[in-house]
């Protein structure tokens, strides 16, 4: 049940109608049932994993809070983390590690035949396990109190707008909203509507259109060359942004119309002027999670230059692994680690050499933005490629002599619409680059506001791609 499907539209209308007539207690119960129905529509068998995670963290949260003994608190935290990571590791990483251990042992002449699992990856598993872990971690750090209302806690874990692909909410933010009575106002409804509309536009009009060219190129890498890869990789940079930020917009919008405030997950990442800033704007819910629960516990920037950079590198590497059990994601994470560390070193060196403040002018800002986009896009090659061989082939081709631009296999119209879509996204998001809420379609004048609504709605109808494309981040 995708957000951009008719089935979801009908599902949400029913849920929302019930939501408006029920009181707070029954709203939560109904939302919990709806969330399980929503998840069960993909594969009801994996609901059991959500229940295990929910019950485990519910109990561990209370036990951590009640225990005065430090060892006991650590034991229950350990149990919570072990439980969640075991579920994640078993379903997501078992085959990957088994295959790599088999290869490694093979290098030393040891032959092993591990039993590979024949299971599909439960949708959204990386998101909800991280979300529930943040709950026990925050209680352990005494940053919040546990709830004793199991059903409300279960709703925090399974809240359908953000269950499948985030934002990875913190218990500190979402759980109090579950527990308290929410108010649905016209302003919230309209803001939510605008978020949904813009998210839908980015997904259906831009991301899915870009995907046609990207898939045609990345699906047949050995048939293409230099310019084609540059175009396809640039398209992918916007495809993944519009796909994922579009989903996040819709998730936030759906929650907003029900009175929930989910965290902003993207803040115009391609306007970032350096890689560090990029990570402050890209998938904020994950990057801040990794910062709070991995980078800082590792020591953060408190233990000298070398250890700080080591911590950054480990965090980015594990961030890459979080995306999937594939060397392509690990290399992608490592590359970002190298970028951040490299940028820090280069910046420090530059500051010593150039003390002129004028380099903060508009041209240097634009240049920095462009360079950041280029290096981020180069890393996307690893993220999108089927395997490392393909990724290195693309990289080699990009830096080789220009040959042939692939346009025949996909109609020229697709490329034209893709470029138009990218331009619209850049212009709209540039206009509201200082807007911290992500509500980019808001206009003060009613005439302008209605005109924008109609433009976006007709844009979706007229330029949308309706192939039922999955959101890219569902696979993580």
């Amino acid at each position: 049940m995708l957000f951009n499907s008719l089935q979801f539209g009908i599902f949400f209308i029913i849920v929302y109608s019930l939501y408006l007539i029920l009181n707070h207690k029954w709203q939560n119960r109904m939302l919990l049932v709806a969330s399980y129905v929503f998840y069960g529509a993909w594969d009801w068998r994996f609901l059991s994993l959500i229940w295990i995670s929910t019950i485990l963290d519910y109990i561990c949260g209370i036990k951590i809070y009640e225990s005065i003994d430090f060892k006991k608190r650590r034991l229950f935290l350990f149990l919570s983390i072990l439980g969640n990571l075991s579920i994640l590791g078993f379903f997501k990483y078992f085959n990957f590690f088994a295959a790599n251990i088999q290869k490694l042992l093979g290098l030393f002449g040891v032959s092993v035949n591990p039993n590979f699992l024949n299971v599909i990856l439960p949708v959204g598993i990386s998101f909800y396990t991280f979300q529930t872990m943040s709950y026990t971690l925050d209680i352990y750090r005494k940053q919040m109190k546990p709830t004793r209302k199991l059903l409300d806690f279960a709703l925090f874990v399974a809240f359908f707008p953000q269950l499948i692909a985030g934002p990875i909410e913190r218990a500190k933010n979402l759980l109090p909203q579950v527990l308290k009575t929410r108010k649905v106002t016209v302003e919230k409804f309209l803001e939510g509507f605008r978020l949904i509309l813009w998210g839908l536009f980015k997904k259906v009009v831009v991301a899915d259109r870009l995907g046609i060219y990207v898939d045609a190129v990345y699906g047949n890498v050995h048939h293409h060359s230099n310019i084609t890869f540059i175009l396809a990789t640039s398209f992918f940079a916007f495809q993944i942004y519009c796909d994922f930020s579009g989903y996040s917009n819709m998730a936030r919008g759906l929650a907003k119309v029900m009175g929930f405030d989910l965290m902003v997950n993207f803040r115009n990442p391609y306007f970032a002027k350096n890689i560090k800033e990029f990570w402050q704007r890209w998938h904020i819910s994950l990057s801040s999670w990794l910062k709070d629960y991995l980078y800082i516990p590792l020591g953060g920037n408190r233990k000298g230059f070398l250890k700080t950079n080591r911590n950054i590198f480990i965090t980015m590497l594990l961030g890459g692994l979080w995306h999937g059990a594939n060397w392509t994601f690990i290399v992608w994470g490592m590359l970002h680690g190298i970028y951040i560390v490299g940028t820090k070193i280069v910046q420090a060196a530059l500051e010593k050499i150039i003390k002129d403040k004028k380099r903060n002018n508009i041209i240097s800002k634009m240049l920095n933005t462009l360079i950041t986009f280029i290096i981020v896009s180069l890393a996307w090659i690893f993220f999108r490629a089927e395997n490392l061989n393909d990724a290195f082939y693309i990289l080699r081709s990009i830096f080789s002599f220009p040959e042939y631009l692939f346009i025949e296999g996909v109609a020229l119209g697709h490329i034209t619409y893709s470029l138009m879509g990218i331009l619209v996204v850049i212009l709209v998001e540039y206009r509201s680059r200082n807007n911290t809420t992500g509500d980019v379609l808001q206009f003060k004048s009613m005439v302008a506001q209605w005109a924008v609504y109609y433009l976006v709605i007709f844009g979706v109808i007229f330029f949308g791609v309706y192939g039922g494309e999955q959101f890219i981040y569902f696979q993580f």
Binding site: Q7, G409, A411, G413
Partner: protein, 296 residues
């Protein structure tokens, strides 16, 4: 509360009005577009209509066949097409006039790319409307409720058709250049609509029977390809050809016997180039001639 409700109502009403205005505007411009195949067909009323996918689009030159047969023709093929598109276009064409022959390519029966978006401007035709009933209900609702959606992704076609140069010759789109390793025409399968094979067979039967009812002859053609692979639908087309006594011309076999070196005639492994099209169109022209002599 009443004011808000009134506002929402106005918003929806105005939306419906705009939907109809845009629909009429697009409809008008599409009729003017030179890329509107039906407009060309109705203007020229050719004797033969060629229906197929990209292999046919770049592999059949109606002018070359006319030189052999004396029959005027129009290549109404479209990229990624299958039997759904052929059936829809047949219904639309027959509602206006009766050509002498439909030459249909042996093409997929169970998958199709963009058929309904190309047929959507003709949804007023009952044949096309019937085809829509086989699609998932979300597609049916989209086309049924929102008229603008009938021109989904057609802006480039409309603008290019109004101002651009018409690069086709009676519908035929030439591909220049010879076989190159760097070419691949594979696009992702996810933008295709998949149907049960049974549905495709029903449509093929309907296609043949509707043509027969209107006294239009049918010729089936299997196009040559360099990549040696069996066309899944070939046996089904063969069976129908036997049942309905329709000639099935296998140009793929002709390529083995008539041509020594085929590589120079191909743009890629699946598509003929501008050299190959003249050779194979002549071969097809001879076959059509034979058919006409046997069926005066």
């Amino acid at each position: 509360m009443r004011r808000k409700f009134f506002k929402v109502l106005i918003f929806i009403l105005f939306f419906l009005v705009l939907d109809n205005i845009f629909y009429m505007g697009f409809s008008f411009l599409y009729q003017k577009s030179r890329f509107n195949a039906l407009k060309q067909i109705l203007m020229e009323k050719p004797d033969v209509i060629y229906l197929g996918n990209s292999k046919f689009l770049s592999g059949i030159m109606p002018e070359a066949i006319k030189r052999e047969t004396g029959l005027s023709g129009y290549n109404a093929s479209a990229n990624g097409s299958g039997i759904v598109f052929a059936k829809g276009l047949e219904s639309v064409i027959l509602s206006y006039y009766r050509p002498k022959i439909f030459v249909i390519q042996v093409m997929p029966l169970s998958s199709e790319r963009g058929a309904m978006s190309r047929l959507a401007p003709y949804l007023h035709n009952s044949g096309v409307k019937n085809l829509l009933s086989y699609y998932p209900y979300n597609i049916r609702i989209k086309y049924g409720l929102l008229k603008t959606s009938r021109y989904n992704s057609m802006l480039v076609v409309i603008i290019k058709g109004l101002f651009g140069k018409l690069d086709s010759q009676c519908g035929y789109r030439p591909l220049f250049g010879s076989l190159s390793q760097k070419r691949s025409r594979q696009v992702r399968s996810s933008i295709e609509t998949n149907f049960p094979a049974q549905f495709g067979e029903t449509l093929l039967r309907n296609f043949i029977e509707e043509a027969r009812r209107n006294q239009v002859e049918i010729i089936m053609v299997e196009m040559p390809i360099l990549k040696q692979e069996k066309n899944d639908g070939y046996d089904t087309y063969g069976n129908f050809a036997k049942i309905y006594n329709i000639p099935l011309i296998n140009l793929s076999k002709k390529s083995d016997t008539c041509l020594q070196s085929t590589k120079e005639y191909f743009w890629d492994k699946f598509h003929l180039n501008n050299k190959g099209v003249t050779v194979f169109s002549a071969v097809l022209g001879e076959e059509i001639n034979k058919f006409i002599k046997n069926n005066p």
